[in-house]
């Protein structure tokens, strides 16, 4: 069952969606969510540009995506209806706030007649609810006046949904209590509105059906709901614990990465130092400084920020200091589509620096994958003394899904001991490399006898002194290249989920994983044979990738860009892959990928 809450950005739809999600999670459904916001904080009321929505997919089996087309649409105003009706299932249900359908408001949304009356909604099940009127009544006794009264209408809508889907109401009531406890009037208004919505279902004829979505069958364990940003933030905290290092997170506010900064700034009791820098460059600089000083230095941003940080990333690469850069991608170029998702920073991550400057690139595949991938990225940074780029995107960042909490006592030990003694009888050589990893020692200020200077100028092999000599430069370029390439021996092989006799491989990275998985499942349900693989490591690629690619006739690469992985694979393996590209600020619909797979199987 896929439900979409849609309204004006001031209508509280994100909150209503998130509460419904939480109640469903506690109830034991598997779920996946997709919030979508307007780019402007307060776009004009009742306009298409101001529509904010939150889709949640709940089910009694494991689910992979928020769903292509909602079954139920909650439309708080005409603009929300206009913007979302096209996505609704042909036989879907619309719960509509009838009070909002005045001529002035439907005109503003772009209708030329009232869509509730002119046949626009023929074929759908329409449940008309005068939400403003009912909210006013429900809130009356609290004494709340003026504009505040209608603020509670999202809770009324939530109450209606809670009844329709038999959600337990206690978690939501408990949450309202915790959230609004400080303001008794608002608290009472929200509780009353929520109950009024719920009771409307119980007592009114129009809601003939309730829907039963039973708890899902999930692997036994403890679960919590995470968004990608939350799980990346927790992964950073956990990486600090696993590395036995204090975390230093420097960042400049940017959509859609700021929530990582918000979350980490709450956890000072872990010794986490957050530093809101004056700009993106300073954030990278401070993180690098902290790394030089012996902390786990991390900076988080989105594409425009990575562009600004690139000179500092080069310095981290040259000084061979560990540093983690999180890029929560959004639509580009330039300011682009700040609130919409895209995977178009992959080439920048791999190549976007001056000089010969390879560094490891990893990508988070989903909110529930983010914790582990973040720790893996930190592991590589520390072990190989290198900056690492970790890619997430807006879809992962804001989407939520249940995540099985891992055994935290079994976190990998990713600590790297600091150098404390000279590494040769003649003294300390800061660029004397480990023969296996090619990594250099990490000697931090405060360590007597190991005083040394690093910097952006080319280093002499071993001593790390400044050296402009051409042959030494070539040697150092080769060392840095080999160090990163060698990481391929230290990462997991790519796993393939294949049907016997499949000739088509669908290869994805990042947030397309869920849509690809769902599409493959659709193909299989229809009797088709297909293989599927997902890349967490994008530089270097897993050792077995070439072999895997070579064993299929056709390799389909769906990406929310114009074919960036497709291009990398072509360069690396001479692979004649087939790209499926989408750059509409929205994730793939599973059906889009399924159709392409079917076409390839048939051809």
């Amino acid at each position: 069952m896929r439900i979409r809450f849609a309204g004006d950005s001031g209508d509280g739809m994100q909150l209503a969606g998130a509460r419904f999600t939480e109640a469903s999670a506690i109830f034991g459904n598997d779920l996946s969510t997709f919030p979508s916001y307007p780019a402007e904080i307060r776009a004009p009321a009742d306009t298409l540009g101001g529509v904010s929505s939150y889709q949640v997919h709940i089910a009694d089996r494991d689910i992979l995506t928020p769903g292509d087309h909602p079954d139920v649409l909650v439309a708080m105003n005409p603009a929300a209806l206009m913007a979302n009706l096209g996505d609704l299932q042909a036989t879907g249900t619309i719960i509509v706030n009838t009070d909002a359908f005045t001529e002035r408001r439907w005109t503003k949304a772009g209708y030329t007649s009232n869509p509730l009356e002119d046949g626009t909604l023929d074929g759908y099940t329409v449940l008309p609810v005068p939400m403003e009127e009912l909210t006013k009544k429900a809130v009356e006794e609290t004494g709340l006046k003026g504009r505040g009264v209608l603020r509670s209408k999202n809770f009324l809508a939530l109450g209606v949904l809670a009844w329709m889907y038999n959600r337990p109401i206690e978690p939501t009531l408990g949450w309202i209590e915790r959230k609004f406890g400080k303001d008794p009037q608002v608290l009472a208004a929200n509780v009353n509105a929520f109950k009024a919505g719920y009771n409307l279902g119980v007592t009114t004829e129009i809601f003939r059906h309730t829907y039963e979505v039973k708890p899902a069958h999930m692997e036994p364990g403890t679960y919590t709901n995470v968004t990608g940003n939350l799980a990346v933030a927790w992964g950073i905290v956990a990486a600090g614990v696993a590395a036995k290092l204090p975390v230093f997170y420097a960042s400049y506010p940017i959509t859609p990465a700021s929530d990582i900064l918000h979350e980490l700034s709450k956890h000072r009791n872990f010794g986490v130092r957050t530093f809101q820098a004056e700009d993106e460059i300073a954030a990278a600089g401070a993180a690098l400084g902290a790394a030089f000083a012996g902390h786990l230095g991390v900076t988080g941003t989105s594409g425009p920020g990575v562009a600004l940080k690139s000179e500092t990333i080069s310095l981290a690469l040259m000084t061979e200091l560990p540093m983690l850069i999180v890029d929560v991608q959004r639509g580009g170029p330039s300011t682009g589509l700040p609130t919409k998702t895209e995977q178009s920073d992959l080439l920048m991550a791999v190549y976007g620096r001056h000089g010969e400057s390879p560094l490891p690139v990893l990508a988070v595949g989903s909110p529930s994958d983010a914790f582990e991938t973040t720790i893996e990225a930190a592991r590589i940074a520390l072990k190989y003394m290198t900056p690492v780029l970790l890619l997430s995107d807006g879809y992962i960042a804001n989407g939520a899904e249940p995540w099985q909490v891992p055994d935290l006592d079994a976190l990998p030990d990713i600590s790297v001991p600091f150098q404390t003694e000279p590494n040769t009888p003649e003294g300390f050589l800061p660029y004397l490399r480990d023969p296996d990893t090619h990594s250099r020692p990490w000697a931090v200020p405060g360590t007597p006898g190991l005083e040394h200077r690093v910097g952006g100028l080319e280093k002499e092999d071993g001593t790390g002194g400044v050296k402009y000599d051409g042959e030494n430069h070539e040697l150092m370029v080769a060392y840095r290249e080999r160090k990163i390439a060698g990481i391929a021996d230290d990462i997991a092989d790519v796993e393939v989920d294949a049907d016997d006799g499949a000739t088509v491989l669908v290869l994805g990275w990042g947030s397309t994983s869920s849509a690809i998985h769902a599409a493959v499942r659709m193909v299989r349900t229809g009797g088709g044979k297909v293989a599927r693989a997902h890349l967490r490591h994008l530089n270097p690629f897993p050792r077995n990738l070439g072999e895997v690619l070579a064993s299929y006739d056709k390799v389909l690469i769906p990406e929310l860009n114009r074919g960036q992985l497709w291009r990398l694979l072509r360069a690396e393996y001479l692979l004649d892959g087939i790209r499926l590209s989408k750059v509409q600020g929205q994730p793939f619909k599973a059906a889009e990928i399924r159709d392409k797979i079917m076409e390839l199987i048939a051809s």
Binding site: E22, I26, G28, P171, M218, E219, P220, G221, T222, Y223, T224, V226, V237, A238, V241, P246, F248, A250, H267, R268, N269, F270, G271, V272, R273, A277, E278, I281, A282, A283, G285, A286, A287, L288, G289, A290, A291, F292, A293, G294, H295, G297, E311, T312, F371, V405, L408, L411, P445, G446, T447, P448, E451, H452, R453, V454, G455, G456, L457, V466
Partner: protein, 336 residues
């Protein structure tokens, strides 16, 4: 912290020093190394961070931890070090182009945050490393390779800028005056918080004698206005000139005419930076009577101390971080 007596040699790195012969940077390097040897700072605790430019080669010559970073970014990198490790002694070595042009944003924010950094700004009023373009402190009308008809940029007054950026310590000194330089380094080190020290530095290749008004045998006694806390601001061979501040502006007067009682008494610890600002505007460049010394030195909470206090408070309130608690903090459920 172990206190050890060291010599200047202990602070010299094996790297061969490569500035142009006669460059003011040599003198400053010697002053800094001499001061460090006297200071009792353990060598392993000293960290020198620079950006790009002639002055920014400085860390290579100090036998300490150091980083020669990227153009303009030293204050940001140094902030990360100082905030991560408050026990270290972090020094930023920068120039007029590095700090005030490409790195302008970082320098002002490091000042306002009051991170415990010692910023040494070598001001030679020219771009030396790129061979002689006008800098953000070059005087208007200056003819250089990139301004053959004269620069049309109004220069910054670095001391005014630092005061405007809420710096808690601001001083100025001159490369050739080693004793004064060392006194300023000591005052900066003793001040806990961001310290900004402008050092007039002669670039004998591209901007020779830019500070002649303050360094020439004759001129120096005429033009150096020594700021000393608690003393009237007077100058001249016989202290015959003095400074009065009224309506927010500093004026040069004859002491004999107005009487010593009416001369401005310098208060580096004044809560308001207004008088220090007025003094900084006495000249907009080193061309006439120019104050040197400590303009301002006030106590203000230090960024990393406040942050450590928050860490302690959060730990007191919530206990030390517990990952299991963290990952279930937004609610959880168990599937049997």
């Amino acid at each position: 912290m172990t206190t050890q007596t060291t010599t200047r040699q202990d602070w010299q790195s094996p790297q061969e020093v490569r500035w142009c012969p006669g460059c003011g940077d040599y003198t400053i390097l010697a002053s800094v190394q001499n001061y460090m040897a006297e200071s009792g700072i353990p060598r392993e605790h000293a960290v020198f961070i620079s950006g790009i430019g002639c002055s920014s080669r400085f860390p290579y010559y100090m036998n300490t931890y150091g980083m020669h970073s990227i153009h303009g970014r030293a204050p940001a990198i140094a902030s990360g070090i100082a905030v991560a490790r408050p026990e270290l002694s972090v020094w930023v070595v920068t120039g007029d182009g590095d700090a005030l042009s490409i790195g302008g944003n970082h320098i002002i924010h490091a000042m306002r945050r009051n991170v415990n950094l010692k910023v040494l700004l070598f001001n030679n009023q020219i771009y030396g490393l790129t061979k002689g373009q006008y800098s953000p402190t070059s005087e208007k009308g200056k003819q250089t390779k990139s301004s053959p008809m004269g620069s049309i940029d109004l220069p910054f007054n670095p001391v005014s800028l630092a005061l405007g950026a809420e710096a808690s310590f601001v001083a100025r000194t001159i490369d050739m005056d080693r004793d004064h330089t060392i006194a300023m380094l000591e005052a900066a080190y003793d001040h806990r918080g961001a310290a900004f020290v402008e050092i007039y530095q002669n670039c004998n290749v591209f901007n020779d004698k830019a500070f002649q008004a303050l360094t020439g045998k004759q001129e120096r006694t005429e033009n150096r206005v020594h700021l000393e806390h608690g003393k009237p601001v007077t100058f001249g061979p016989d202290d015959e000139h003095g400074v009065m501040i009224h309506d927010g502006t500093a004026h040069i007067v004859d002491v004999a005419e107005v009487g010593i009682a009416n001369i401005h008494v310098h208060d580096a610890g004044a809560e308001s930076p207004a008088a220090a600002f007025a003094l900084s505007r006495l000249s907009h460049g080193p061309y006439g009577p120019t104050p040197i010394g400590v303009f301002r030195s006030v106590e203000r909470p230090v960024y990393e101390d406040d942050l450590d206090r928050q860490i302690a408070a959060a730990t007191d309130a919530k206990g030390p971080g517990d990952l299991k608690q963290l990952v279930t903090s937004t609610g959880s459920w168990v599937v049997e």
